[in-house]
């Protein structure tokens, strides 16, 4: 072959050019002219180098036969392309050269089940009379058929078109192998005592059916994967009891599985996986029909019904399978109407996606984004939603289901066609990857050579780049198709345009309910309102709404989110920036749906200030402004105007705006809990300071003392603002008090806001509700000297003066320091604090409340941690100035540094305190209402968990975390707080 140029060889697809020339010569030397003719065929093989090497090996083994095959173009094509596509088949032929005979078979079409079974049985029949020999014979017969099928597959012209036939044949091979395996098991059990002693008539009287599940059940198996099965057994005559039949059937099933997957001279075929059975791994391997029915009636989870959709008789006693299907099928479709059925289907899919190692995601053909699983999921979802009322879509295999859905009008014709093509394409790639080494894999290989072989296996003109580019495009389209096929038809306005399936309103209701809308009829009203008309807004929303609906459905409150979106959209109308944001910034639109579907607090606030939607685009704006900036803005307003109502209105507006900013930031995770409480504290602080400055404009020195969580800069959404007022006495004490009271009354009036509640709480002042609302510095001094209780000293630990002259601030702080950090702590006072704490726990907790779930007063919750910190500060604050801080977390750290608390204890306390604080805020964000109790309602817990950035479906995880954290905190609390 010296006449061949190297460039020509390269065009044929060889890589190792120099060596190829001599190899071709060697081949011609061995088989003559037939070797020359092989060159053209080699050029069509997936991997020409591999095929040529194999030919040389085979020529050494059986020159005559190879010559005969290469002499005939048809035969030659089948052999060479098989060798080029599958190194596993090359190995098989080297091991069993007699199999070369199948390439001379004139009929290359896949065989029927009857024919396959006949061949398997014949092979077993002629084998030696031992289990191992019969099994080896069966496996070899299976491999022979598999080789034949690969040969068919690689010469079929268009592998996409051949896929369905190949896949069906693979399923038939599997079920036939199991059928024959079962026959071997029956033969073995009746002729030997190794696995127990059973009479032939007993064994004959035992009915056992193998149901194929999953891909094999749907007759869409791939070259190599586990075969999922379920077993059913019954006595077929009066001769044996049900127990005995089950015992025998269990042996039969076990031996059949060993015939498929046990070690042996001829290697195992594939794993038989019986774990989809009732109770999974821990359940009985074989059950009677009745026992199956009972299980599905009582115990089965949603996904187990979903698995049944693909159940099909595979081997054994057919009558049992028919009985089983007849009984279970109606239950399957009734189950799809269960609450949360679709949700659990979605969750399963996410769990699968989550388990893919990060470095494999891009190479995954099956599980990655835009992979086979996405196609299968969309199709199954549509089947589950519509199959309950539409029997024609109850088709087990994916391609059949797509056709049925299109026929019944649930999927557009064009979409169905695209879906079908993409599915076939992905499966064709998967098959090529699998049969190249007969390995169970769904990963695109990472070597360039291997990818090139796959590419050439699909189309011999393709390079690896062609394949990857095409695959990327398919992945992208598959990802979009889910949204297009499921969500677009929900817009009836679009359906009329004819580019989507036209659904009746009942069908739209079914879909909306399936994805979590509680009131689909109202949702349809919103959708219609958003998409009707010819405005630019309607046009953009038509484009956008399908994807928005998908995102809304991913949240916990799709109904209220859709309503909020409609309001927002109506308020902002045709504002160009809003439409531009929706159209151009998919990140902004996604963030918006996320916030609207997660937070009632935010949706409520949006109604008053729709322009805040601009923040969705500028996410960097979702950071707290900081105290100085807020104060500056508010003071500027207070300075410019004189009208009380006007100023108050503007200040309320700023407070609402900033609260919304923080709520959005908290939902979107742009700020953490520390920034959130600081931000909320800054808002309240600037709000009150500005109001005070505005109302108190006569130079009267009146100061505000922040107390409690406000003092500690630990405000949450909806926290009260605990304060006291202090003033410096002037020459006219009588009028001072009156003045102060008037100012405070006005602040109270102006600060109130019906739209975003503001509660100014003065109850921590001396004498509580009975005391004057403000006191002079001297009056405080006198009071604390004479009257103050231990708990009042304790409350002062969190006092922080936020307004008033420098002198006043300093004087007041010095005054209270002597009481909150006493040099000599009376033991009596400590006992008193412990006593009050015990009383608070029993008396303040609302009737009927579960102490484990109360976030403020419950076991190991906020008050436990805070009281413990305060006890430490009160007893040691004089000696250790560094622990003097109104902030709980800071104090915990300082106590550790001062050696007053074990590091580990402090961590446990801090964790519980943080989680309780975060949950309290999350409850307000989620529901728009304040509550100090961890809800028991799963939906609410789920919503709260999402805001805390738990993954979907974490209601219970959140609950467990909270209960565990607080339990540990309580143990620390009891040990440290009550220590002597």
């Amino acid at each position: 072959m010296a006449s061949l140029g190297l460039s020509e060889l390269a065009r044929y697809g060889f890589v190792d050019l120099e060596a190829t020339v001599s190899k071709l010569d060697a081949l011609v030397a061995k088989v003559g002219d037939a070797g020359r003719a092989a060159l053209a065929e080699l050029g069509l093989a997936a991997n020409p180098d591999q095929a040529l090497n194999a030919l040389l090996d085979l020529a050494d083994i059986d020159k005559t036969q190879l010559k005969k095959i290469l002499g005939k173009p048809d035969f030659s094509a089948r052999l060479i392309r098989t060798l080029g596509a599958s190194s596993a088949m090359v190995d098989l032929l080297r091991r069993k050269p007699e199999l070369l005979a199948i390439f001379e078979d004139k009929d290359s079409k896949p065989r029927s089940t009857v024919e396959i079974l006949k061949r398997f049985r014949a092979a077993v029949e002629t084998a030696e009379s031992t289990f191992d020999a019969k099994v080896a014979a069966l496996r070899l017969a299976y491999r022979t058929e598999l080789l034949r099928l690969v040969a068919f597959d690689v010469t079929a012209g268009d592998p996409l078109e051949a896929f369905q036939e190949v896949s069906r044949n693979l399923s038939d091979l599997a079920t036939s192998a199991m059928e024959t395996g079962l026959e071997i098991a029956r033969w073995e059990l009746s002729t030997s005592d190794t696995h127990g002693s059973f009479s032939k008539s007993e064994i004959d009287a035992t009915g056992l059916a193998v149901m194929a599940m999953g891909k094999c059940g749907a007759r869409e198996l791939n070259y190599l994967s586990d075969v999922d099965v379920i077993y059913i057994a019954e006595p077929l005559s009066e001769e044996i009891t049900s127990e005995r039949a089950l015992e025998i059937a269990t042996k039969l099933a076990t031996r059949m599985m060993r015939a498929m997957d046990g070690a042996g001279v001829e290697p195992a075929l594939w794993q038989v996986d019986p774990n989809l059975r009732p109770e999974g791994k821990s359940g009985a391997l074989v059950r009677t029909v009745e026992s199956h029915v009972t299980y599905y009636e009582r115990w089965a989870q949603n996904w187990e019904f979903q698995a049944l959709l693909k159940a099909r008789f595979a081997a054994g006693t057919k009558a049992l399978a028919e009985l089983y299907l007849a009984k279970l099928e109606p239950m399957v479709w009734a189950a799809t109407g269960r609450d949360g059925f679709v949700e659990s289907a979605q969750k399963m899919r996410e769990r699968v996606t989550d388990h893919i190692p990060a470095n494999e995601v891009d190479r995954q053909i099956k599980l990655g984004p835009g992979g086979l699983r996405d196609v299968e999921f969309t199709v199954q979802l549509l089947q589950l939603v519509h199959g309950r009322t539409e029997e024609s879509v109850r088709v087990p295999d994916t391609l059949g289901a797509i056709a049925a859905l299109a026929n019944a009008g649930y999927m557009g014709r064009t979409d169905a066609e695209v879906f079908t093509q993409h599915y076939k394409f992905l499966r064709a790639i998967e098959h090529r990857i699998q049969f190249s080494q007969m390995r169970r894999t769904h990963l695109m290989p990472d070597s360039e050579v291997a990818i090139r072989s796959i590419a050439r296996g699909i189309n011999h003109k393709w390079t690896s780049e062609t394949l990857i580019a095409r695959w990327e495009q398919v992945k992208q389209e598959v990802r979009l198709l889910h949204q297009k096929v499921f969500y677009r038809p929900l817009l009836s306005a679009l359906a009329k345009l004819g580019d989507a399936a036209t659904l009746t309103s009942d069908q739209i209701v079914d879909r909306l309910r399936a994805i979590g809308f509680i009131d689909p009829a109202t949702a349809i009203g919103h959708i219609n309102a958003l998409t009707s008309g010819l405005s630019r807004r309607a046009a953009i929303q038509k484009q956008l709404l399908p994807v928005l609906l998908e995102w809304f459905a991913a949240g916990t409150e799709p109904d209220s989110a859709l309503l909020a979106f409609r309001r927002l959209s109506e308020d902002l109308g045709e504002s160009p920036w809003y439409l531009r944001m929706l159209r151009d910034s998919s990140g902004a639109a996604e963030r918006m749906t996320h916030v609207l579907s997660a937070s009632r607090l935010a949706t409520g606030l949006f109604e008053r200030q729709p322009e805040a939607a601009a923040w969705f685009e500028r996410i960097e704006d979702l950071k707290p402004l900081g105290l100085d900036s807020l104060l500056g803005e508010m003071m500027a307003i207070a300075d410019r105007h004189t009208d009380h109502e006007k100023v108050a209105n503007s200040l309320r507006g700023i407070r609402r705006r900033e609260t919304l900013r923080l709520a959005m930031g908290a939902v979107l995770g742009t700020i953490d809990i520390g920034e959130l409480s600081k931000g909320l504290t800054d808002i309240t602080e600037s709000y009150l300071t500005a109001l005070l400055e505005f109302v108190n404009d006569t130079g009267f020195d009146l100061g505000i003392v922040a107390m409690g969580r406000f003092g500690g800069s630990e405000l949450g959404f909806g926290s009260d603002a605990d304060v006291m007022f202090v003033y410096a006495k002037s020459a006219d004490p009588e009028s001072d008090q009156k003045k102060a009271e008037a100012v405070i009354a006005e602040i109270r009036k102006l600060s109130a806001d019906p739209l975003l509640e503001f509660e100014l709480d003065l109850d921590l002042r001396p004498e509580g509700k009975n005391g004057p609302v403000a006191r002079s510095l001297e009056s405080y001094s006198a009071y604390y000297e004479k009257w103050a209780n231990t708990w009042e000293d304790q409350a002062l630990l969190r006092a922080r003066v936020i307004a008033g002259s420098e002198d006043l601030r300093e004087a007041f702080t010095n005054l209270i320091d002597t009481y909150r950090y006493p040099v000599d702590v009376e033991p009596k006072a400590i006992v008193e604090i412990r006593r009050i704490k015990a009383r608070v726990e029993t008396e303040r907790l609302p009737q009927g409340a579960d102490p484990k779930r109360h976030l403020k007063l419950g076991r190991g919750s906020l008050s436990d941690v805070e009281w413990l910190v305060q006890l430490l500060q009160l007893s040691n604050g004089a000696k250790f100035p560094e622990i003097r801080t109104p902030q709980t977390l800071e104090a915990l750290d300082a106590c550790v540094a001062a050696g007053l608390l074990e590091k580990h204890d402090a961590t446990v306390l801090a964790e519980a305190w943080m989680l309780a604080s975060r949950i309290r805020s999350a409850i307000v964000i989620y529901s728009g209402r304040r509550s100090d109790v961890l809800p028991t309602d799963r939906r609410a817990l789920e919503g709260i968990a999402r805001i805390l950035e738990y993954p979907r479906g974490s209601a219970t995880a959140l609950e467990q975390d909270y209960l565990a954290y607080t339990r540990r905190a309580r143990m620390v609390f009891e040990r440290v707080f009550y220590a002597q």
Binding site: K852, E959, L963, A964, R967, M971
Partner: protein, 62 residues
């Protein structure tokens, strides 16, 4: 030798259980706290009974 005696009384056993993160995780928090509450009640009922031995031993000294 690092060998610790098993709890000698229900009271002691309850305290050991309270400290067990393993038990809390295996049972789940709700069940765990229920079991503890139940056992604490059992212990307090046990302690509140007056045994014949105590009567025999101590009644006369009253």
């Amino acid at each position: 030798m690092g060998i610790q005696p098993l709890p000698q009384s229900l009271d002691h056993a309850i305290r050991k259980l309270e400290e067990s993160e393993l038990a809390a995780e295996v049972l789940g928090e709700e069940v765990f706290s229920y079991v503890l509450a139940n056992k604490r009640r059992e212990w307090s009922q046990y302690r509140s009974q007056v045994t014949p031995f105590e009567l025999q031993q101590n009644l006369e000294t009253l």
